[in-house]
């Protein structure tokens, strides 16, 4: 059997108008996409599971596009993200970990990151260096182009998705829920964007299935007001602050 068999694709988009407080001018839009895949490693221990990680790369890219389309959003509208996986009972937690690279980097790349995915796959990538070494002609926004190539000025971001994509994973029964964390795409410490989205796919995962999930949001919690780092105060561009 091929390593990749997608059985179901599930999208979930929320428009949050308010939570009994003053409604913001623009509602917050949060979305999740979940792909239900056959688990080729179900039922027994396989020492080498890395071939599936590689094979998942196009699945990640397809899922990002499916989610943006379901949310009716462009990459520049997205300000926080997260990912997760639920492994059916005949699999092991480690199978869920296969999603880190193909899920996270597909989302970062399609949202405008130009770092070294191959380096990350090997575990050697450097977020800050790869982001700042990107040529100006690859940058995605005017602000970036205007200040490119001026060492000594406050380092502008060469791409927005610099922050680690937060994640959760578990082994679960069909219909199990997963609270998928969300954080700001440029700086993990942005407090207004700390959030989580509960995702479940009715009927999945069966014992021999994997559910891989990506989540994105347009912005902060709908009535965010507990202080901390604000998006306009991001200054380090190290993925954290």
């Amino acid at each position: 059997m091929s390593l990749i068999q997608i059985r179901r694709v599930f999208t979930h988009v929320e428009t949050i108008l308010h939570e009994f407080g003053p409604a913001p001018a623009k509602p917050q839009i949060r979305g999740a996409v979940a792909a239900v895949l056959a688990n080729p490693y179900a039922g027994e221990y396989h020492a080498d599971i890395l071939p599936m990680m590689e094979a998942l790369n196009p699945v990640g890219l397809e899922m990002v596009n499916t989610l943006l389309s379901a949310m009716r959003m462009q990459p520049e509208d997205i300000n926080s993200y997260g990912k997760g996986s639920i492994v059916g009972s005949a699999g092991e937690l480690e199978h869920g970990a296969l999603w880190h690279v193909p899920g996270g980097y597909a989302m970062r790349e399609l949202l405008g990151w130009h770092g070294d995915r191959a380096g990350y796959t090997q575990g050697t990538g450097q977020s800050q260096n790869s982001a700042q070494a990107t040529p100006a002609n690859h940058s995605v926004g005017n602000a970036e182009t205007n200040t490119a190539g001026k060492p000594g000025t406050a380092a502008p971001p060469r791409s927005r998705p610099l922050a680690i994509v937060p994640s959760t994973k578990k082994v679960g029964a069909p219909g199990a829920t997963l609270d998928v964390p969300l954080t700001h795409i440029t700086a993990s410490y942005v407090r207004s964007h700390f959030d989580a989205m509960e995702v479940s796919v009715p009927g999945a995962p069966a014992a021999d299935e994997l559910v891989f999930i990506l989540v994105m949001s347009t912005g902060a919690r709908v009535h965010a007001r507990v202080g901390g780092l604000a998006p306009e105060c991001i200054s380090q561009f190290d993925g954290q602050r």
Partner: protein
Amino acid sequence: MKTAIRKLIVQVDETRVEMGQSINPPTRRAVAIAVIENPFAGRYEENLEQLSDIGAELGKLLGEKCVEALNIEPSQAESYGKAAIVGEGGELEHAAAILHPKLGAPLREAVEKGAALVPSAKKMGGLGAAIDVPLGHKDAAFVRSHFDAIEARVSDAPRANEIVVAVAVTDSGRPLPRIGGLQKHEIKGQDGLR
């Protein structure tokens, strides 16, 4: 709009493989869910007309959201259903007032035609309660391949003073229907049954 909506959710469930069999084209089911304020929470109200007007608004809004999410023409919709979960400050009759008097007509406009009964479910429930929204063919209730259900659930609703209202629309029946009965190509679509 008379309806005080806190949150809108739209889900699409697409099945590409079932029991090892390729489903081509995939079956697709959409469910659109509104979390609304219950104007009658906490007190007995004899006249529920306000909720029926809310039902009319939601039939249109949620029906159109489903069709849009499926990316189809209204005439390509094949089955539909509706459901509501009333938070603990309300009563079951509030769900009935939303679902039954006025929701159907604008929903039928959103999916074109709709000779058949819109199958429904209702219950009282708390945060994260799930309801299985029944599905039936929109023009002929006896089409056996289209008897189905899709689960609707909102993790943070309904609060006590809220109602969760769901409308489901599909462009297909079950993935591998093979138990006979009336087939969709045999539909007359006149009496709502066959």
